[in-house]
Subunit: 280 residues, 2 copies
Amino acid sequence: MNRDRYRRLAVVGVGLIGGSVAAAARRRGLAERVVGVVRSAERIGRVEACDLVDEVTADLAAGCRDADLVVIATPVGTIAALALEAAEHASADAVLTDGGSTKAGIVAHVTRRCPRFVGAHPLAGDHRTGPEAARHDLFDGAVTVLTPTDDNPDDAVGAARRFWEALGSRVVTTTPERHDELLALTSHVPHVAAAAVAATTPADAMPLAATGWADTTRVAGGSPDLWREILLANPGPIAAGLRRLATEIEAYAAALDRRDADALQRLLTEGKRRRDALGS
Amino acid sequence: MNRDRYRRLAVVGVGLIGGSVAAAARRRGLAERVVGVVRSAERIGRVEACDLVDEVTADLAAGCRDADLVVIATPVGTIAALALEAAEHASADAVLTDGGSTKAGIVAHVTRRCPRFVGAHPLAGDHRTGPEAARHDLFDGAVTVLTPTDDNPDDAVGAARRFWEALGSRVVTTTPERHDELLALTSHVPHVAAAAVAATTPADAMPLAATGWADTTRVAGGSPDLWREILLANPGPIAAGLRRLATEIEAYAAALDRRDADALQRLLTEGKRRRDALGS
């Protein structure tokens, strides 16, 4: 499927996503050499211990030098600046892409200055983070959203698409703005809902929390640092989605005040209908 | 651990919970004969096909006649009436218990009239329902909440406790009212949150729903009929919990409006702290 083979893949940020990109690329032979770039020298040993890359460095310029493929997989607040810096050191025809959970701000900032950067978001994750959680099959069967713009040359878009497909994911394409509107509803609002359910459960109730609570709140175990940045990178669509959610929850509370069985049945049925559309 | 062996266990309502009680009791040899009572003759064949009980009947009087242990495992709105009716036919020294997700209303209605009824709620479940989903290990490692009152004789409470323990669960005891307050927060409010997240996700966003959405909304796949009754049986604590949840969600939306990173960090950290107290 993927006829590309890169000389040097630089993965900037070797956590769950970056580490899994590196591991999948190595496993599938997509690059002759896979270099991990970490934020500080203290992290080098930790990444080396996970055996995800051929080489680890805390020097962005050295790591990206002559790379013909660069993946930025750092927290969303740092992706734009790192992509522009990486592009200065990478090969002139390098393709750049990223793994950020928001796209409009990043793409608006980077793509015009660096048309070979093609925004991407693999919908794969875990509530665990860090290189220890990385795995070569993280993207198998997942969807990756690609958000090219008119600034991107076709060959860069094609290469980015083939790369994310070669990692095991199915690529769908949309605009950066539409991506952020949709992900607000499928990922960012659910994260807040999970965290809010967890936070409003008092400690003395916890012995009676069972699998339903565990499922509903699972994503709230994710990193507050990462999620603060994601929320701040997409504030408008998320705030609007949260207010729709709060209104829906208030509709249940009002139906309970009235002991309105028909209204509760309608509300629950609509939730089940949408949930059943996905499967387990 | 369990020195009791019953002559005849009648399980009224052979769905996920009742079927699992029957299967676990048979597997562990807790009764000489396990009889399933279903609501209508049409359901007899379906339950027989699942091989959960020794005998199935749609005749409550016949099924409960001379039973020395009765478990009512029907939807919460029907438990009280069925428990009182079952008690008329069961052996005079029979112990009765149930599997209802709410306790205050049921216990208040039944226990004074029938002091050998000891309210119980096994915190085990599944978004699937019906006898096909039943399994003998459903209660292994689960908590069962027992809600005895001063009306219950000690021997009935002890027998109910030993029975739920013998099914594989760990029994904790509290009042019916306290049970309902706590379960509102650990189960009923999370269910509504899951259903509300699902219902407010538009159909055209669903192709971008991934594991986070799937986890957060999983319980919304449960039966609207069952959950309508659970919500209506515990309206006060649930409505109060939902309004606390809506306030928490609004705090996120307000923090997003202000681009308030510190507030978001605080909110997310509190959610993670509570979530991490449980484990995966």
